[in-house]
């Protein structure tokens, strides 16, 4: 597998705090990587550095390097970066009545010149991408009227139109119910492109990512398979709760359960006993 991204010595300091501290890892083509960690661990900040958003790496608070295909990402133009990375953000509310088609067309931007109009090839690409996420029927629907899961899928389809090699997702399962959480993550897995995403739900991350990065207070604590990264001792330290690892009987994936401190019963049972 060839290396797409190389992050070395990446640090981001603001007065009195390290947002990121000496982060090192490589990303190979085709990997599905989940970034996990508590709130404020630096997950979203790390994503912003990877794509050099708003030329953030030029800031004097940030040191270290991000290399895309063995070239510093700072040497790429914003348009070239957009040709390599597609971003699916947490929140996308627009006040205007954009149609799904309007949103999809945005994905064409990194490949278009000034003044250019849409052609038949563009329309075919949009139709193909929408069919891959199972939303062919929604081409003319209002984006705002779709459910959260459908909006995520439209944005993933937009990323396909963008034809980038790396898909970045920031909490793709936030605000989604269980069905859509699995649907979106399954979809992401089936696309056969490189994926880097932040995930809050550790069991979902374990089920759908080949590799996890555990961040805590700006440091990369562990980088490896779900089984390695979700080691109970490590997780207990990071999240401050006792924890136990198991293997899911059906999926075979590593799963973790947390307990409330100073009790020997599971959190859910604990809540039940309280309500009784």
């Amino acid at each position: 597998m060839s290396t797409l991204l190389n992050i070395s010595g990446l640090s981001w300091r603001v007065p009195n705090k390290a947002i990121l501290h000496n982060i090192n890892f490589n990303v190979s083509k085709g990997e599905v990587i989940g970034i996990i960690g508590p709130n404020g661990a630096g997950k979203t900040s790390l994503l912003r550095c990877l794509t050099n958003q708003a030329n953030i790496l030029a800031s004097k608070n940030i040191s270290g390097s991000v290399q895309l295909k063995n070239r510093p990402i700072t040497q790429y133009s914003a348009k070239a970066v957009a040709q390599h990375f597609a971003l699916v953000m947490q929140k996308n509310d627009t006040i205007f009545a954009l149609s799904v088609q309007d949103v999809m067309k945005m994905g064409l931007l990194p490949h278009k010149t000034l003044f250019s109009l849409d052609n038949d090839h563009d329309k075919a690409q949009i139709a193909l991408a929408l069919s891959k996420v199972g939303l062919s029927h929604a081409l003319n629907s209002h984006f705002n009227l779709l459910s959260g899961g459908e909006q995520q899928r439209v944005l993933i389809a937009r990323a396909l139109v963008q034809a980038s090699q790396i898909l970045i997702l920031d909490e793709p399962t936030n605000h989604l119910d269980v069905y859509y959480q699995h649907q979106v993550l399954q979809l992401v897995n089936k696309l056969n492109i490189t994926v880097i995403m932040t995930v809050h739900d550790l069991n979902l991350a374990s089920l759908y990512c080949q590799r996890l990065l555990l961040l805590n207070q700006g440091e990369l604590i562990c980088d490896g398979s779900p089984k390695e990264v979700l080691a109970p001792k490590q997780l207990s330290q990071v999240f401050g709760l006792p924890c136990q690892q198991s293997v899911d009987a059906i999926t075979g994936a590593t799963q973790v359960s947390f307990y409330l401190k100073d009790t020997n019963i599971r959190a859910s049972h604990f809540a039940e006993s309280l309500s009784e």
């Binding site: 971003l87 953000m89 509310d93 006040i95 205007f96 954009l98 067309k105 945005m106």
Partner: protein, 328 residues
């Protein structure tokens, strides 16, 4: 032809018909046969010929480009700030122009034909520079609109201060100018507004995808390779130049930039290319007819055009509020 191009085509024809029809309105009696004869150069009535070419046509053409300009300035600002209430007037452009005009009126009363538009233009640009400067200092380009409102009130209070202590005659002139009128426009005004309009249109056509990308948020646009701050600044500059020129020649004509893009979004669509072309066409039709009302509804006087647009605009505003209440 699809639905959108059919509507746009129909609107374009309506613009031409409106302009032709508007030429026949006015104190001098000119019917459509006379008009056609004079337009193709076979005019029998010399007076009608002069009225048409030197009074009516410049006026209708200025109404046409001013309507286009104000409407697309509103449309551009609304899409680039993702705020459906953005309007060139909210950025302090008009209060800046008002201050410029006031100072010109008080101090340069001898040369007003050139000095008034020039001072109004400089005043408008001055206010935009302050607005952008404040937003830059605050490092928040998304707060342009709030900065604009603040600057607008500040400049308006300076203007009122000057007017309060100024000479009554000059004060009257400024107040009437602020109400807006196309009564004194000339053909040269049309050329100036039209050239800035063309530059603005070409720029928007070039960057329409970038502006569209902003509609789903700054972060989304940045991830698609758009330099968000630079784009927003460029568009604000273009809108400022466009509005300042129109205000300099025609005085204050409010609410066009707020109202027209709303209609276009309902009728044609929200993405930039459709919105700009639609706004230009409907804006032109709107201002041509409002000007007809302004000059022909009273027997021996004109109503300032800004009074009519503001009256219509405020009713429209309430209508939008009522509708959005119905949706939610």
């Amino acid at each position: 032809m699809n639905k959108v191009s059919t509507i746009l085509f129909a609107l374009a024809i309506l613009v031409i018909l409106s302009a032709l029809a508007a030429i026949t309105f006015g104190p001098a009696d000119i019917d459509s046969t006379q008009l056609l004869n004079c337009l193709v150069g076979t005019c029998q009535n010399q007076i009608a010929n002069i009225v048409i070419w030197q009074v009516r046509i410049p006026r209708v053409l200025v109404a046409l480009v001013a309507g286009m300009g104000l409407a697309i300035a509103g449309a551009i600002l609304q899409n680039t700030t993702r705020n459906p209430l953005a309007d060139p007037y909210l950025f302090g452009i008009v209060s800046g122009a008002g201050l410029g005009a006031t100072i010109a009126n008080i101090s340069l009363a001898d040369n007003l034909t050139i000095a008034l538009p020039l001072a109004a233009f400089l005043g408008a640009l001055f206010s935009v520079v302050i607005v952008v400067f404040i937003a830059k200092v605050l490092q928040r380009m998304e707060q342009l609109l709030l900065a604009g409102v603040a600057v607008s009130f500040m400049l308006a209070s300076i203007t009122q201060f000057i007017l309060y202590f100024g000479e009554p005659f000059a004060t009257n002139r400024v107040i009437f100018w602020l109400m807006g009128s196309l009564a004194r426009v000339e053909m040269s005004n049309f050329y100036v507004i039209a050239s800035i309009l063309i530059i603005a249109m070409i720029t928007v056509f070039a960057l329409h995808r970038q502006i569209d990308a902003l509609l789903l948020g700054d972060e989304s646009a940045a991830s698609l390779g758009v330099d968000v701050d630079k784009l927003r600044l460029l568009m604000l500059g273009i809108c400022a130049a466009l509005t300042a020129t129109i205000v300099a020649y025609c005085g204050g004509i409010g609410f066009v930039g707020l109202m027209i893009p709303h209609i276009v979004r309902q009728l044609i669509g929200v993405t930039t290319l459709k919105l700009i072309i639609g706004s230009a066409l409907i804006g032109a039709i709107f201002l041509i007819w409002v000007d007809v009302i302004a000059r022909s509804s009273l027997p021996h006087a004109e109503i300032p055009i800004g009074i009519i647009t503001s009256a219509l605009g405020s009713i429209f505003f309430l209508f939008i509020m009522y509708r959005s209440r119905a949706i939610t």
